[in-house]
Subunit: 443 residues, 2 copies
């Protein structure tokens, strides 16, 4: 089907490793897993918040319901945030707050197939949800998680860019854009600045009715990116001097930036970036984007922010939160395109070959021995030419082959062949596991 | 939404552990992971093989396609076998054969909601696919995988029951049911024997036109379950004496049973069971069911078999294979019902508490220290009453709390509290990781 990313086994190994790295990072920070159904009631998904109705939604209908001529009342989730809202509202009494959930599942969008747009893709989300309130310092934990995860993913240097939507609204008020919905429209344009460049953004802002001097001042201000924590804090001070309306947003942002340092995130990994706006009004405070320093063209690989109320449509409890999402399918696709990731060797470490039918029991017992020792091992229950079996191992990326010929069986040994180095050794059965463990560790 | 199993976090930990146990077992035997999209072209899913069209399929249609008044051309997979067939046919040139794939994903069925019937559930499948041929001995590896996985799942003793559809057709030929489609109908009734009992099955067979004596002889024969390998082989010999038409199926089954032993599966874990028929004509040789000895009411927890050709609708290559499926969602639900599984302690091992605002940096650096050592740790970035924080940890199942009060900070120590035992110790920062590791290991 067009619009999906289907991987061959050797790429799936890489993908799985990235996914498990993200999961391990999230769990390291004490986030707990939630999984929700891909299918939800359409009424639940299509509340009017956050512009989801504009998105292309996939509706779902069973054979039976179609035959009855009913309108579809089910749909596939298009993100993990709306299902989270429904989940928290539904199970609120059984959850402890702050509720720290991670969720790694596929989401679905009825996109027209085009390069880099997927109809089905993984999102890897974390959110911290408070009941009634959630302290600002939780916003500072998010960059610590991002830092851990992207360090562990080993995709090169990256920068976690922070800003604050309230500060931006203050700035716009200072530039005499007072109306909230006009501010939202301006922020949506600023959000596209990196993609479109200064000139086209300036044109768009003028088209929104902003006076030329205000456009200039805005674009000059948002061009700022900090070089370190001290620089960021000093810049916030200057901004408040120039635009007193930014005071409360700037104060929040300063608190967050200082706490990010306390979480142990190195100064070169994060920055205050006044061009980060995020398109959605859903975000009300801190916003995040993360970019790979060596691959600016990829854009943000991890985005999110603070919101005032997660589940207003489903519960009367006020549930403020903060979270981020990694679009793993797209990230993998882009990193593969950039040559940063590719196929991996097989998870299977050993192929136990079989050359003669008399060797079957011996070979199978060698296989069982290796599996009992925790070594992923494929066995061959039917004999074939050794060369053919070694070629197979090489093709699927199994690094070691074990040969149990008549001579080896007579001596209670096996021959272990290192397929990449071409070397081989005859090893006693009782030494086989430790021998292979050494080879595997050296790999 | 009705008809789905949504878990609270403490149950999700158990579910995830079971899923990862199955994955690890599959990988231990050298199966490689494949993931396919949940959405496929409806034409691809709805080929006429295997009775899928009778199943309730979920059709999928985007907002845009609906607005254009089109018929849905997409659907959600209802199993993992049809997507595998499409995958192998599509990527045949890039795969090495025998192709050993595992796949653990959700599938979708437009069921009417009722107890124990799920609309969305996990399947955990393995299949070995040959090109042109696949030796019978591959059928013997499947019980070895089942044995590994269900041993590791720790759900009590189980029996892997084997039979052979060709042997059953031979038996029916011997009972003068010669017509293949009539044989299929009889086998579908035999498949329901365990659920329905002898009497109702006998009635159903008579209704199919079988003479009373043939019904008696059939039901007497299929009542057999072996007590060990020798017993099974002897019974197969006697069966061939009585019904020469069973000779070729019996010979295949004997070869498989002997090889199962060579794979190291203990004799008490598997049995020849002549009542195992599997409902689907798709299966042409060996068939498997696995039941939990202490929970016969749960029925088969892992079923499958040998088939002649995986992907006849998608490729002209002949692709025989053998495989099994574990319906994990249903299994989890049943085991929970039976009290065998339940909520687990949190993956998070430590809560670093915060009592006074001055302790923030110290507490966060303790948290970072534990995470760097690989210990999943939640930190509190805002102070609150210690009792409240300990109650939270207890509620979410975090076993250890770390307290860094003013005194501890002055001494460069922390207090570690074991929440279940109620004990606590003051520990130097440099000894904290090893101290906690010991506690965690003892848990």
């Amino acid at each position: 089907m067009p619009g999906v990313l289907e991987l061959l086994p050797a790429e799936q190994v890489t993908f799985r490793r990235m996914l498990e790295t993200i999961r391990a990072g999230y769990e390291r920070f004490g986030f707990v897993e939630v999984e929700t159904p891909a299918i939800e009631l359409a009424d639940v998904l299509l509340t009017k918040t956050g512009g989801e109705t504009e998105r292309e939604v996939y509706f779902v209908q069973s054979t039976g319901a179609r035959q009855q001529g009913l309108e579809p009342d089910l749909a596939l989730r298009f993100d993990l945030t709306v299902p989270l809202a429904r989940y928290v509202a539904q199970h609120e009494q059984q959850l402890a707050f702050p509720f720290r959930r991670y969720q790694i599942q596929r989401v679905y969008r009825g996109e027209s197939p085009q390069r880099g747009r997927f109809r089905e893709f993984y999102q890897c989300d974390i959110d911290v949800i408070g009941r009634d309130e959630l302290d600002l310092r939780y916003d500072a934990e998010i960059p610590a998680v991002i830092h851990r995860v992207f360090t562990d993913l080993e995709v090169g240097p990256f920068t976690i860019r922070l800003n604050n939507r309230r500060l931006m609204r203050g700035l716009l008020a200072g530039l005499e854009v007072a109306d909230a919905s006009r501010q939202s429209a301006v922020l949506r344009e600023v959000d596209k600045l990196e993609k479109r460049g200064v000139e086209r953004t300036a044109d768009a802002l003028v088209a929104l009715g902003l006076p030329g001097p205000a456009v200039d001042r805005l674009l000059t201000t948002v061009a700022y990116r900090s070089t370190g924590l001290e620089d960021a804090l000093a810049t916030l001070d200057r901004l408040v001097d120039e635009y007193p309306e930014t005071a409360s947003g700037a104060s929040d942002l300063a608190t967050v930036l200082e706490a990010v340092a306390a979480f142990g995130v190195p100064e070169n990994a994060y920055a205050l970036d006044l061009s980060i706006a995020r398109g959605l009004d859903y975000y009300t405070g801190t916003v995040y984007e993360t970019t790979l320093d060596d691959h600016p063209g990829i854009g943000s690989v991890c985005s999110g922010g603070r919101y005032d109320d997660l589940a207003g449509y489903y519960t009367s409890s006020r549930l403020p939160g903060v979270g981020i999402s990694i679009g793993l399918t797209r990230l993998f696709w882009q990193l593969r395109d950039a040559g940063v990731v590719g196929p991996s060797p097989a998870v299977t470490r050993v192929l136990v070959t079989l050359i003669d039918p008399e060797g079957l029991e011996y070979a199978l017992s060698v296989g069982a021995q290796l599996r009992d020792a925790g070594i992923p091992t494929e066995t061959r229950p039917v004999p074939s030419r050794l060369g053919k079996q070694l070629k197979y191992a090489d093709r699927v990326g199994i690094p070691f082959a074990v040969i149990c010929g008549e001579d080896e069986r007579a001596r209670d040994t096996v021959t272990v062949r290192d397929l990449r180095r071409g070397a081989q050794d005859e090893v006693a059965r009782r030494d086989l596991v430790s021998h292979l463990r050494t080879l595997i560790d050296q790999e």
